[in-house]
């Protein structure tokens, strides 16, 4: 069973990380996108914080659902529907007493359904998919997350705003993969992983 209180601190921590790294995310996005990934996620994080502050959840599904709906509503860019769909999909999966890898897999399914990206297209999918493997074999760490992240650098984008750049998208870390790296670093830090 994944602990609902730990998940709440995971999501709060994720919000803090994207807020602290807002400029970095914007810079990555400026190189190959529209430059607002950090600002958009920071806006979403503030709305999530407002929703979660002082709230205590009994059910994981309710927590994920609230977070998902807030992100869909408040994040202006593609990351709103993508992260939102991930959490809404995790909310559904959480009803089945899912373990962590099953939850994150459901999140990835939500992202893929929304954005239609496969692995290797230089998107957040290239973080989520290998992270799920690492969770399953117990090897997820800050180092493995960074290794996965760096691999997006040499990929050529074929989905999302960066795809308009074609070959010019090569050589830059994908901003969506970077924000997802913060999400999974927060997962480790909040102690959700060591259940």
């Amino acid at each position: 069973m994944v602990d609902v209180k730990k998940v709440q601190s995971w999501l709060t921590l994720f919000g803090e990380k994207v807020t602290e790294n807002k400029e970095h995310l914007n810079q990555l996005d400026t190189a190959i996108g529209d430059g607002d990934h950090g600002s958009n996620l920071t806006r979403g994080a503030a709305a999530v914080k407002e929703k979660l502050d002082g709230q205590s959840y009994d059910e994981l599904t309710d927590l994920f659902k609230d977070v998902g709906m807030v992100l869909v509503s408040k994040v202006g860019g593609a990351s709103g529907p993508l992260y939102g769909s991930a959490f809404i999909s995790m909310a559904k999966e959480a009803k089945n007493d899912a373990d962590l890898s099953q939850l994150i897999t459901a999140g990835l399914d939500g992202i893929v359904k929304r954005g239609n990206a496969k692995t290797g297209e230089k998107t957040m999918v290239d973080m989520w998919s290998p992270v799920i493997d690492s969770i399953k074999d117990g090897s997820l760490s800050d180092e493995s997350i960074d290794e996965i992240l760096q691999k997006t650098k040499d990929m050529k984008a074929s989905k999302g705003r960066a795809s308009y750049l074609g070959d010019r998208s090569i050589g830059h870390i994908d901003p969506g993969a970077q924000s997802s790296a913060y999400l999974f670093q927060a997962l480790i830090e909040a102690g959700v992983i060591n259940e």
């Binding site: 607002d36 202006g76 529907p81 939102g84």
Partner: protein
């Protein structure tokens, strides 16, 4: 006579959506066309809430939706999943296809004929 189809224009920029609306109104004065551009703060982006609100405000039950870039489509897809309206989202060239649909609806061309003409304007996956 109550109309069946309306047109929704979704762009990342409010003025792009409202500007296109102006262009279409010129050729399709009897067609209900609405724009949902930008975020709720007036920034560049698209808004699920704004799109949903626009969709629900149609008297028509079926909405032909046109959009500019990817995240607009994602928000349209989410609205489609949650709304009772029947939404058709076209992965076609934004301006040309919305113009085509508006002119043909104005000329009372049946929907199958409109969809057929839009097929050649498909440029997005």
């Amino acid at each position: 006579m109550s109309k069946v189809y309306g047109i929704l224009l979704v762009s990342h920029v409010e003025e792009v959506a409202s500007g296109l609306l102006r262009l279409l109104d010129q050729v399709a004065g009897d067609v209900t066309i609405k724009a949902a551009g930008g975020t709720e703060d007036g920034d560049v982006g698209t808004s699920f809430d704004r799109i949903t609100e626009a969709v629900e405000s149609f008297d028509e039950d079926q909405i032909l939706c046109f959009y500019d870039l990817g995240s607009a489509k994602m928000n349209l897809d989410m609205t489609k999943e949650t709304s009772d309206k029947i939404m058709t989202i076209f992965d076609t060239a934004f301006i040309e296809s919305a113009y085509t649909a508006a002119s043909l609806l104005q000329a009372s061309v049946p929907i199958d004929g409109i969809k057929e003409q839009l097929e050649s304007l498909k440029i997005k996956e």
